[in-house]
Assembly symmetry: C2
Homo-oligomer: 199 residues x 2
DNA sequence: GCGCCTATGTTTCCGGCGTCAACTTTTTTG
DNA sequence: CAAAAAAGTTGACGCCGGAAACATAGGCGC
């Protein structure tokens, strides 16, 4: 009992969890405030005591998504050794999360569903960004003496991996008969940073 | 009068145009079937004669978006000369379009709003993809003798430019006080394909 | 030029949605 | 143990997308 709500026990967390479950089952169309409340067994007006409208609830869902996203990438890392390997591992983790939880991933980056000014969401997002930032360090030399080389490397890496993920989710990449992209992210990354002596 | 509908004149096109205008004015939340119909001065049930529900109408809007997107990139091209220059010009065009029409751009890649199985949308999307494909040709040698080198280059380039655009729109990149990204797309692209003898 | 036919648009109704105000129940607190 | 505050319920509102029934207006056969 971290927090101690009076009636339900922990309605706030229950609503977020139910929201994520409902999102994966029914997709974004099925994710209504009323449906989430019903799944928890509570009236449709109850969430208002804990969240600022449906936007607040979805924002909390997005934040939880970023936490899981960061954990997902981190868990895929340690088995790998070389620096280039680590980089690929985290990138692959980013893409895999998107493919495993397409609706959640989409929600996490939707300004329509989430309020990116929310402090909790920003904290969770930063947690996720931190993992990418770490592995972007190896790309820094690519930018030579340019100012903000590290940040440029981060932005580049994030752009590739995020763009690939979204295009894959939308089904816009070349795919096989099952809808699986023909080329994985590691097949598509040109040999940079890894070619000229990396690890 | 290309087509000659009976009452309105060309309700189909009028609805799409009104939808885009409304989208830019009121954002995705304001883009309802009823609001679009009202703007054209028609009842909310009229669009159903021309589109398969609100999804069909939004799909048509997305298709028109892709056509404008392709034209936007093409128009930015001819002034440039070198091959690396051409590449940057198209990439910058991609990003600029997203920044100039954020809601339309978002809609164009939203599986929630658009039906990507729609033939018209696929045709329009292919038009847009063609521009990127052209300029990706220069990156092909990066992939050596790998199979599908051309497609890998296309996927890579599209991923970067699309990821950057979306992250910029969402406001997740490092920005100045006005919300403008600190690093432009051409600042974050690492020196590949252009460094070792390009044009 | 008249009568049908079909394309186009309207009206009306339905259920679901998010929000709000008023009310009830439960827990805390002094 | 009583007052207050927190948590949840009920019922209403307006907007939404969809469907069915109806109205209108051009096209076409004759």
């Amino acid at each position: 009992m971290d927090e101690k709500p009076y009636h339900h026990g922990d309605l706030k967390r229950a609503l977020v969890d139910a929201g994520i479950a409902l999102l994966e089952e029914a997709g974004p169309q099925g994710l209504s405030l009323r449906a989430i409340a019903a799944r928890v067994g509570v009236s449709h007006a109850a969430p208002r005591r804990h969240f600022d409208g449906v936007l607040g609830l979805k924002t909390a869902i997005a934040a939880e998504g970023f936490r899981r996203h960061a954990a997902f990438m981190r868990d895929g890392l340690p088995a790998q050794t070389g620096r280039g390997d680590r980089r690929f591992a985290a990138m692959i983790g980013y893409v895999r999360f998107a493919q495993a939880h397409p609706h959640l991933f989409t929600l996490m980056f939707s300004t329509r569903d989430a309020d990116f000014a929310d402090p909790e969401l920003q904290r969770a997002g930063a947690e996720s960004y931190g993992v990418l930032s770490d592995i972007a360090a190896g790309l820094e030399p690519l930018y030579g003496d340019a100012p903000d080389a590290r940040r440029r490397a981060e932005t580049f890496l994030w752009s590739v991996v995020h763009g690939y993920s979204q295009l894959a989710l939308t089904g816009l990449l070349h795919t096989d008969a099952h809808g699986t992209p023909l080329h994985r992210i590691e097949d598509v990354m040109p040999p940079i940073g890894t070619a000229a002596g990396d690890n």
